[in-house]
Symmetry: C2
Subunit: 124 residues, 2 copies
Amino acid sequence: MTYENLDGLEVKKLENAKAQMRKGLLELCVLSIIDPEEMYPSDIIEKLKEAELIVVEGTLYPLLTRLKNAGLLEYTWRESTSGPPRKYYTTTEQGKVFCRELKESWDELVTKINNITTINSNHE
Amino acid sequence: MTYENLDGLEVKKLENAKAQMRKGLLELCVLSIIDPEEMYPSDIIEKLKEAELIVVEGTLYPLLTRLKNAGLLEYTWRESTSGPPRKYYTTTEQGKVFCRELKESWDELVTKINNITTINSNHE
DNA sequence: AAAGGTACTTTGCAATACATAGAACTAACT
DNA sequence: AGTTAGTTCTATGTATTGCAAAGTACCTTT
């Protein structure tokens, strides 16, 4: 990824476009990360960061709450040795099913987008 | 894609999740579709439909306007033999560069998401 | 002239990111 | 005991971009 062909304004636009691309994908990411085990929010943020998908608290907490309210996640409080208690989230059975469906939808979407963008690459 | 594991409310949630996934991806799609040639909006909608990415006027027209205002697209009016005149859009040089950068960003994003969701699939 | 079809514009709403401020809890320090 | 620092979680305003729907404008046909 190099920005040498873009001026300052374009860079900002590209950054924004990248941010918009991420919208709507976090549910899948978060459910996938949590699924095999239990996790508390800062760990989730850390895991996302390792995957180079940076997410901030203001995004994650409301998302976790939404998923909990939708019955896809549940949580238990756990005392921590290094500060206040933590909410450990796990995926409900419902959430596992939903996550699998979501993954399928994602795969289909990727295929569709690639069909569009790859076909046109061949013309260049 | 089967919904047999989901009840009515879940289906609605999944549909919504799919809609959210699409957000942010249309710029890339539209630029990719237009790039090799010139196109007017109904044709773009048709092409997207063929690719099973259904987009409505209320979405596309403002998007085209945004891209035009950003200098990535330009248009000329053309008379039509079957109705009112049409706006034919073409990609500017700037738009071609932007589209390539966007494609790279997309590819990176796909890789990152797949890293997250695939790793966890292996645990099931 | 009116009707029908096509093309484009506008607007309100919903959803989900981000930035930021703040509250609450615990451990360590003074 | 009180204060400070670090950690965890909550809430809110803002920005962006889809969708639904209504409406305007233009051309052809009736």
